[in-house]
Chain length 381, copies 3
């Protein structure tokens, strides 16, 4: 680091930085070059076209040019195929490519996964200097592993332990007694309050708050008193958490985010929640206190789950859905409503509260019509 000292001037330029070519962004290092055949082996695909074409970068289908590999992210982008200047294009096995004679394709069963794997080849992880800035405030009792990078304006409290190669960006706060594993990245303004524990390879994006007080009060009105929130948050290995998401500490015990969980931005996770391994929580969803989310659950954006519930393994909850009761494993639930033309929706809104009346009217009509039918039948006879 020491970025602000004069001694930094004159250092060798980072040759791996972004390259500007006529306003187009391209990524990766010129030094990395792979033939399409090599990439095909990496992802278990099939080349249609020239196997020996060299790929130096990955770019989006609108921006890709010669030397680039691109990717048909969505069938909507198919119209870009004809005019695409990329040296090769990743497509699904089910895409008919024979009509594009002048193009090279890499056909795979899971194009998105193949794209991810190949993009990783071309993405050099950022290089950190493994030093502690003299402008960071690190307590003397702190134990830092090897090559931990601590940027300026970081605060690390008493008795904190940080595993090797972890990076703490400017403005990160680690409260007293916090434990952080190896190879973590905490982006700017991350707060991990006292005693919380974070595993290995955990990424916390900017503004994440871990270990804020759970929202616990007893009594009513003026007599309401705060229940001390003396538990912690425990975040297991390989978790990633999006910007400005908040995870409250437990009242007693632990709020737990299981191994491999991925959480998007602006999510709220209340005290004593447990999120099972490999679950995914999309932006602006919220989980109320003491609810247990199973393994590999997917909670879509802006969904909400009430407190003291159990969401079974593999359950999936749709966007904007509200979950007021426990959910069986594997269940697929929704309550989000597709937006309709406003005028028509206003009319729906006037009927909605009258649904119970509508229901009983229909039941009445059923009985009445049945009686009339019987009468008509008997009249006939």
């Amino acid at each position: 680091m020491k970025l602000w000292t004069a001694t930094r001037q004159g250092e060798i330029q980072n040759i791996h930085s972004r390259i500007h070519v006529r306003g187009v962004l391209r990524y990766g290092v010129n030094v990395v070059r792979r033939t399409l055949s090599e990439l095909s082996h990496l992802v278990g695909g099939r080349v249609v076209g020239n196997e020996s074409v060299e790929i130096g970068r990955v770019a989006s289908i609108e921006e890709a040019g010669p030397g680039d590999l691109t990717f048909l992210a969505h069938s909507r982008y198919r119209l870009y195929l004809a005019s695409c200047k990329a040296s090769a294009i990743i497509v699904g096995s089910n895409v008919a490519v024979s009509s594009y004679l002048d193009k090279n394709f890499l056909q795979v069963d899971q194009p998105y996964l193949a794209f991810a794997k190949i993009l990783r080849v071309y993405t050099r992880p950022q290089d950190y200097d493994g030093q502690v800035s003299p402008r960071a405030s690190v307590d003397s009792t702190v134990i830092l592993g090897e090559r931990v990078t601590v940027f300026p304006h970081v605060y690390v409290g008493r008795g904190v332990r940080v595993g090797q190669r972890t990076v703490l960006f400017p403005g990160v706060f680690l409260g007293d007694g916090v434990e952080v594993g190896e190879d973590c990245i905490f982006y700017p303004q991350v707060t991990v309050r006292e005693k919380c524990r974070v595993g290995n390879r955990v990424v916390l994006d900017a503004g994440v708050v871990i270990g804020s007080d759970g929202f616990g009060y007893a009594g009513e009105g003026k007599e309401r008193i705060k229940i001390p929130q003396v538990g912690i948050v425990e975040i297991e290995d390989d978790v990633e958490i999006g910007a400005n998401t908040t995870i409250d500490r437990a009242t007693l015990g632990r709020t737990v985010i299981g191994r491999g969980v991925k959480i998007d931005n602006l999510v709220q996770i209340a005290h004593n929640v447990a999120v099972g391994e490999y679950s995914v929580i999309i932006a602006q969803a919220g989980i109320a206190g003491s609810t247990q989310i199973g393994r590999e659950v997917i909670l879509a954006g802006q969904a909400g789950v009430l407190n003291h519930l159990k969401i079974g393994d593999g359950a999936r909850i749709g966007p904007q859905s509200g979950v007021p009761h426990s959910v069986a494993p594997g269940a697929l639930l929704s309550s989000g409503i597709a937006a309709a033309p406003h005028r028509e929706w206003l009319k729906v809104m006037t009927v909605l509260p009258r649904l119970p009346r509508l229901w009983s009217t229909v039941r009445y009509l059923e009985r009445k019509v049945a009686a009339l039918s019987r009468k008509a039948e008997s009249g006939k006879r």
Copy 2:
């Protein structure tokens, strides 16, 4: 503070810190010991079992062991009772305890409140050193009360006043002219922008923003101009605000958060809103501009209230509910929808927009059936 100086090494260990015993977290200070009888007097309860058993800690029912008091937080946890190793258990007066002969109980009318009161006995408030870090940036015109603690990397602007014993964690920003009362705790990265006022015993959790610009523009498209937001936010005594919540300053005048209000994480409160005393706002709820929330209102999670409304005292709004009109005092409103199996919900979604048609069809059938009935009656005669 001075945490980063070498002189800190060798200081006496804080004996009040968390104690690890076989992976179980327990809280509190070994020195604090109360008999069950003493605790019973504190909360006005009744002991069933050994009155003189000594309690040194409070723990969750899954984790409690000998010497611990625990708490039946929810009837779902009743199954833990038989195997519970705690020295005593707080339960409601209505819980039958006679069959657990080997256990000690503390029976109370409000178990949650009793638990909160007892937990406070065992929770020593954190000790701050009452000093201003030389690494904080405090303007020379600032007036600090006695024993104010200012951590490193805090910024305190011109003419700010801070009352005694208030604690400003690393990264806190107090803009020019801000006034803060006594015994407040502002956790890391809290922003209080210029001129805003905060009362006594206010807790702002990490990342809270007080006094951001209200969202006020006049005109349309290119002609849209910003309305200067020159009002303030005023936060009264005993308010607590959760992590990353945002409260906008008024256009003119004040956005007011009344005494004793408790606000959860990621809540949005717009300009010129007033929230009445002792109201409670749960995570991710939002209140639009100039709306007045009464006293002791409860706004549940992810609920939204439109602008220029009045929500009467004691009203309660359910989770995910939308409030487009003013609400009478004491009203209990909802519009949240329980998530249903996705396939069934898809069918509901196809009928929903046709509700107005359904309604008029049913009205038509009513008339038709009535006519048929009359006819059938007259036919009979």
Copy 3:
């Protein structure tokens, strides 16, 4: 700046600060005085009353006194008119003012716009010192324009460029390679991650995160791998973004926020989204990945838009509405539900899942009643 140095003491007091008069807040500078006639010319209005009355401040209708101009913000406040002590009141052309003989009015077609324009006359923009705090960490390779103000505890990474007169409040983070235009204001704790670009006159309120990783993973469960997010965010001129809002960087290419867009607090904008010029996004709304929002679109509070959609120019989406499909230009959509009395809503909730059954019952009854009617008709004959 240098607020923390002793040399600051004794500086001339800022006479433009807030003035307290009997607990009432008033804004503006005593030196600015305009006659009602002058203000009328500024906004193209008509004076009813005394044209030469002098206005020194703008205040809310409840707080305005002699010398103040105020504003009838909403018809609900009309009851304040009679008792209002302001020297003049802005009202719409359609408001009948003839009965208030003792008051002065400024009648205009667009009162809100007139109010905004006049308030700007009385609001002196804050004065920044145009200096770089020695307590900021600014890399030696950074290029700063003239009179850029960098507060303490700011971090500016390698190769960053910042245009003239831009202000970086305490705790701001600009990652390596970031470009920021002229006359921007970034409030405390703002994070702009590596390589992102921000135009001119952009305001980012406290805690905004620009360029956090997009939420992109390929594969399932344990096999899930992160897709490197190597794109950027590009924010065009005259954008304003509210507190704690998060905008993810693109996977490849750019997430774009178009010229003049205004975004409220706690909004989530996912990777590769493009928001067209002059669009408005209200608090807590969310936009999922790769969705394109047109020009002058309005997305109301807590609304959500799914991924890979196109929202046409000028479309407006109501509060809490969910948008699962693309939207035509100019469309006006909603799916928010007005909260109803809780008991009645519970009954609605029991019928809601049975809507498909209700629908088919009604279709059955229609056929049945038609048959009975035919029978009755034929019976008559």
